[in-house]
């Protein structure tokens, strides 16, 4: 499958995530959209890994090119999980204080 398709797909997902971040104001959903972006990246990485694998394979059959990308994806997931725990904790903390998960609800810091 041509790599451009994957890139296009990933970019699409990525941008949808961006749009979500920009349009929604519920902290959780915004955060979810960010996760979406990360997943788009993951997909792209895997696609690339296979692309490079394909390229390298023509040179020597026993190549393991592209492994690192998949491992990178793995690490992204790891980090994402950690981030989620912290992020949700922060959101919950705010919710406790103001009983809202709206990112624009608190607006003391400006100018």
């Amino acid at each position: 499958m041509l790599i451009q398709y994957y890139i296009a797909l990933a970019s699409a997902l990525f941008c949808i995530g961006v749009v979500g971040v920009l349009t929604r104001s519920n902290a959780i959903i915004v955060f979810m959209c960010i996760e979406l972006m990360l997943n788009a990246v993951n997909l792209l990485l895997v696609a690339f890994s296979k692309m490079h694998f394909a390229l390298a394979q023509t040179a020597n059959a026993a190549t393991t090119a592209g492994t690192d990308a998949q491992l990178f994806v793995f690490f992204i997931m790891v980090v994402a999980a950690a981030e989620v725990s912290v992020g949700l904790a922060i959101i919950v903390m705010m919710y406790r204080n103001v009983h809202s998960a709206d990112i624009n609800f608190l607006n003391r810091l400006k100018n």
Binding site: T23, V30, L109, K110, N111
Partner: protein, 637 residues
Amino acid sequence: MSLAYLVPLFPLLGFLINGLFRNSLSKSMIGIIGSGVVLASFIISVILFFDVKNNGGAVTQYFNFINVDSFKIPFAFQIDALSSLFLLIITGVGFLIHVYSTSYMHEEPAGHFGRYFSYLNLFVFSMLLLVMGANYVIMFIGWEGVGLCSYLLIGFWFKNDNYNYAAKKAFVMNRIGDLGFLLAVFWILSKLGTANYADVFAQTAKLSATDITGITLLLFVGAMGKSAQIPLYTWLPDAMAGPTPVSALIHAATMVTAGIYMIARSHALYSLSDISQNVVAIVGLATALLAASIALYQNDIKKILAYSTVSQLGFMFLALGVGAYTTGVFHVMTHAFFKALLFLGAGSVIHAMSGEQDITKMGGLRKKLPVTYWTFLFGVLAISGFPFTSGFISKDEILLAVYSYNKVYFWIAAFTAVLTAIYMFRLLMLVFFGGFRGTQEQEHHLHESPPAMTIPLVILGILSLIGGFVQLPASFGGHDYLNEFLGSGMANVPAITNENAAAAIKEYYLLGGTVIGLIIIFAATKKFFAVDKFDSEYTGFKKVLANKWYVDELYDAVIVKPLNSIAGFLKNIFEKSGIDGIVNGVGRFVQYSSRQLRLIQSGQVGSYILFMVLSVVMLFWVFWNQEIIVQFLQKIF
């Protein structure tokens, strides 16, 4: 010659002593010191004079004043015929006036008395520097020095603001002249690399015609300022604010003749430029005429004398302009005698009238003040050129010179001479003849002045009668000693000599003319002005003359007022709103943009991220089209 430095030194000492200890010394002491130092330098001047007469002039150098690569300016004195003559005039007349002052200024409290004499001594010092200096720079030092002293002395009674204005006016107008002088000096220095008279005149060949004309004209500008010629003459009449002896010394006898001295000194340059000579002549003539015309309808005794001074100075410049340098100098001398005399006489009158200066309020003083009257009469005769008085001899020598130079000039000059006689006799009549027009108590203590004042009068009177004989034309069996004496000092100038027959005939015409003219004038003025009542309501042209042709008003409107308004504009609008406005504007702009810029920080995560993404997009765009931007930037920077 070795004594030369003493001449200015004495007055300097006098200045220092009187200046520093003016409060501790007694008046008499101050007077003695003040006059003594001048007497001392007079004596030395006499010695120097005869020294020069016997074995020529010389230059003595003392130290390097300014000494840079491109030129050297020594502090040196030059004693030759010209300067030694001026030394005599300055110190001699100066001494008499000092003596006169001791009693004239006697009412002043000790402190001011001392101040007065210290100024006077300082003046003599600077004047001596002026004439003794061996180069233009030293002359300039004296030149500005005398200006300063005249400023100080005009504003001597500094409580009166008008006097201060007069003083300031005098100084500023002099400064205008000084600028010209200074530029001339720079010109000389930049061309010749020296300002010493000897070297400059020796190298005139190096100077192009334009150089010479430019230099001489600029020098003449300086002379205009100092010697009160058109257009810079208006300060001199106002300068009468000063004490009368000051007017006699500075504004009649010595300082105002500095211009003549300077041109006579640099005759070597002037005689090389017809243009400037002509200019000098015309300006002198015009000034003489203008001043004389104004003097006709003045009522302030000192003002009249002031204008007559201006007019006489005009005569001198005329003489210089037509190339009769020695004659000019000769007239300086005679003028010093009779004008000083007249001023001192006027002073004596004012003294007697307890401060009154308006001649319409005087009259019939000849009985009350005999000495003053007689001496004053001598003065009047001299200035109006009564035969064989000093004035007659010098003036008709001028007229002769002018006649041989340009007929038109001659007739105008002659007419001016007549005017001179008229206003002088008018003055004489109004003051000493007719009935007294002043108040009772003025009349009550009218009295002859003390000897300290009368003796100088007498001396000067005699001088102004016989002082001219040093130059008595051969036609009257005399011989022009002075011309010879000066001529020896003045290289390459043909001394105007009256030894030929043609000149002799003219002499007789003039003699006749003058005698007749004077008699008519005497009669006329006696008829009109020797009266008991005199109303000074002038109308029509007389009014114009009485108001001095409105020259002061003209200057005020053309120069002073515009300058003031420009300065005001610059100060209040251009500086404040213009330049400073821009500077502060930058600061204000920063504040304003800060206030606007911080609104972008809306505090909403959404908008922040929006901006971020937008700028990412922008970044990509810039990135892929950056050759455009690079070119753009290169265009700017």
